[in-house]
């Protein structure tokens, strides 16, 4: 049983939170996240969701409230983006270090300056080494489903790390699609209430006193780091397992990556978020109209990074064009670096091309994607990498040089 509804990405996230029967939600308003917490506030006000909603005095406060609530055993959700996520930065490490299974929706938005509220992935990229898991979604349906999955992944004994569900600001957060909203009872079967066990969870409980967040000398610290690293590695299997279980109940699966028409592809475009949908359209058109052997590799799980899956999907291609909505100043782009690192020791690997696109909300159009495929095709023919990094859609007339 389910209901098909026309809802926005933000509403889909809120529905995922409602269905996950979250105990505490704490957040601070920021565009384009705001409507997520407005919807949740309505659910709480109407008794549809029996949770405590705490509107904190800042995102810093919101993450601190989440940490406090999670530490006493509550299932906790928050949402933010951009400056708000940057303000949380210090506490994001604390949440991961305390191994608290907090779920956060990030409506990806650029970071100031210049000031703007449009989509790119700079905000979440700033948190990629914090220990949080990061999943990038492509559709409203995936946003809803991933929020539910996220709790199950984060709360898994093998993982116990917080997780970000990243959806492109405005492009997805404010776009409405028809979404299949699952029944609460079925979600309950999939995701039972959070029952922390003090033998392996951080749990602040008067009946079983524990000191957490203590000082740690060099003789012990690296082992904590190692355990977090190991948990991220183990999370790959957990994400797959949870996804399969989800598929058996709801008929939808997403995987760590999605390799779209990649089996025989000579040119593959790798990307995250909504850009993937556009690229799939272009791939269909190019295959149909021109017979080009092209495919799309959607990186859904960015942390943990699915090295083996990327290699499996793309190693036989001639060219892998990596398209980023974020920049790593002084070197290139984060996704490119990660993909290059995944492939560096492989005996068979494609030529890698590095593209920046869609910064600060600039549209990534089918034409842009076409340009990327054309450039990639040229490289398949010549074997030459013309540019270390290509800026797609850059208006050189504005540069003044």
């Amino acid at each position: 049983m389910s209901n098909r509804k026309l809802i926005s990405g933000n509403k889909a996230v809120a529905e995922g939170v409602r269905l996950s029967e979250v105990n505490v939600v704490s957040a601070y308003p920021i565009t384009p996240q705001t409507s997520i917490v407005e919807y949740i506030s309505e659910y709480v006000a109407n008794g549809i969701l029996h949770a405590q909603f705490v509107q904190a005095e800042s995102e810093f406060g919101a993450m601190s409230v989440c940490i406090g609530a999670s530490s006493v055993g509550a299932r906790v959700f928050t949402a933010t983006c951009s400056q708000g996520l940057a303000l949380m930065h210090e506490l994001n490490y604390v949440a991961a270090g305390l191994r608290l299974p907090i779920v956060m929706a990030v409506t990806n938005r650029q970071l100031s300056q210049p000031f703007g509220m449009w989509c790119d992935h700079s905000d979440a990229m700033g948190e990629r080494d914090s220990g949080w898991l990061q999943i990038y979604v492509e559709s409203c349906q995936e946003a809803l489903d991933t929020v539910i999955q996220a709790f199950k992944i984060a709360e898994n004994k093998e993982v116990l790390l917080p997780i970000m569900v990243c959806l492109d600001g405005f492009v997805l957060s404010h776009t409405s699609e028809v979404v299949d909203v699952p029944e609460l009872q079925t979600v309950k079967e999939f995701l039972p209430p959070y029952k922390p066990d003090p033998s392996y969870h951080t749990l602040i409980d008067v009946n079983a006193p524990m000191a957490a967040g203590g000082g740690c000398p060099p003789a012990y610290t690296m082992e904590f780091d190692y355990k977090k690293f190991e948990a991220q590695e183990k999370a790959k299997e957990v994400i797959k397992k949870v996804d399969e279980e989800f598929a058996s109940l709801f008929g939808r699966r997403y995987g760590l990556v999605e390799a779209y028409r990649c089996e025989d592809a000579e040119i593959i475009l790798a990307a995250m978020g909504t850009m993937v949908s556009t690229a799939k359209e272009v791939v269909d058109r190019l295959r149909e109209d021109k017979g080009w052997p092209v495919g799309v590799l959607k990186i859904r799980s960015y942390r943990p990074f699915p090295k083996n899956e990327v290699l499996k999907a793309a190693s036989k291609a001639k060219v892998l064009a990596v398209v980023n909505r974020a920049i790593s100043y002084g070197i290139g782009t984060p996704l490119f670096s990660d993909i290059a690192a995944s492939m560096c020791n492989a005996s068979q690997k494609p030529i890698l091309l590095n593209f920046v696109a869609g910064m600060g909300g600039r549209d990534v159009t089918p034409k842009n994607i076409m340009t990327i495929f054309e450039k990639a095709k040229k490289t398949t023919e010549t074997g030459v990498v013309e540019s270390e990094i290509e800026w797609i859609g850059l208006n050189r007339a504005l540069l003044g040089d």
Partner: protein, 295 residues
């Protein structure tokens, strides 16, 4: 009274703060949860746990997260326990130093208090960042020398807008309309314990600000902590009062106020003071007493 603070803390000899917390936490007893902000007491209490020879001196659940988080994390615990139906019978205590309260943590504290979460907040005030070695904070007293307000050829100690001795946290909290605000001193444990007991009976945010001298930062012998704290009260530099639902009650009316000079003279941080500076402090203390309607 059942002790919840046992042996094993790593505070310095003569530390006023750890003594104040021992009184406070032992008064609150076992069904208490502590969040402690980064600072002297965090290092002394939860900081020791991982170190060879370090023990954990509390038998109650304790969490440390970061420096400026005390108000918000305790608010999260309040919300979490309420959501789970487990709030009944548990006292939540947020502990932070003067820096963690008046400076970096003021925002989360203000938010938590304004939203009306149910917790006791204890500020141990040693009037500077003592954990990092005595740098000035918002509650450093006027003219005090610290490592970031040294006495040099051009500048002489802590110079702030000299209409106040120090940032007045209890008044800031009272302005939030919290049901219970109190000041206390480690030199007056009976008064301190009474206030903690009273706070424990009240619902909502409660704020207790304890004056806790630091031998190393202030420059006095480790054996003189209580004496220095007592002189702060006897000279009127620190006033013991409570504000219950907006109503002020001075809990210790010093019969004959001693000149501030006697308090200042006990401490190295004030040894550079000129007579004019001492008289400026005296005037500010007199003014404060007048505002409180005291002789």
């Amino acid at each position: 009274m059942e002790s919840v603070m046992v042996s094993g803390h790593r505070a310095c000899p003569g530390c006023g703060s750890i003594l104040a917390l021992r009184h406070a936490l032992n008064t609150l007893g076992k069904n208490t949860i502590v969040h402690i902000a980064t600072g002297c007491m965090q290092v002394s209490i939860v900081g020791g746990g991982g170190f060879p020879g370090g023990e954990f001196p509390l038998v109650i659940p304790t969490l440390h997260t970061a420096f400026e988080t005390s108000g918000a994390v305790i608010a999260g615990m309040d919300a979490g326990l309420k959501a789970l139906g487990k709030r009944e019978g548990i006292t939540l205590v947020a502990i932070a130093g003067d820096g963690g309260t008046a400076d970096i943590g003021l925002q989360t504290l203000s938010g938590a208090v304004e939203r009306g979460h149910d917790f006791i907040y204890i500020c141990y005030d040693n009037e500077a960042y003592m954990n990092t070695g005595n740098q000035r904070s918002g509650t450093t007293m006027l003219f005090a020398a610290t490592t970031t307000t040294p006495v040099g050829k051009v500048k002489r100690g802590e110079i702030h807008l000299s209409v106040k001795l120090k940032k007045d946290m209890p008044t800031i909290m009272a302005a939030h309309g919290v049901p219970y605000v109190a000041t206390a001193s480690v030199a007056y444990p009976t008064d301190l314990v009474k206030k903690i007991k009273k706070a424990a009976e009240i619902y909502g945010p409660r704020y207790i600000h304890i004056h806790t001298p630091c031998p190393y930062g202030w420059g006095f012998p480790e054996s003189k902590t209580i004496e220095v704290a007592r002189f702060a009260v006897q000279t009127g530099c620190w006033v013991l009062y409570e504000i219950e639902n907006g109503k002020l009650n001075v809990t210790l009316k010093v019969a004959e106020r001693k000149p501030v000079k006697e308090y200042l003279a006990l401490q190295r941080r004030f040894r550079h003071l000129t007579d004019a500076e001492i008289s400026q402090i005296q005037k500010l203390v007199d003014k404060k007493w007048k505002e409180l309607g005291l002789p």
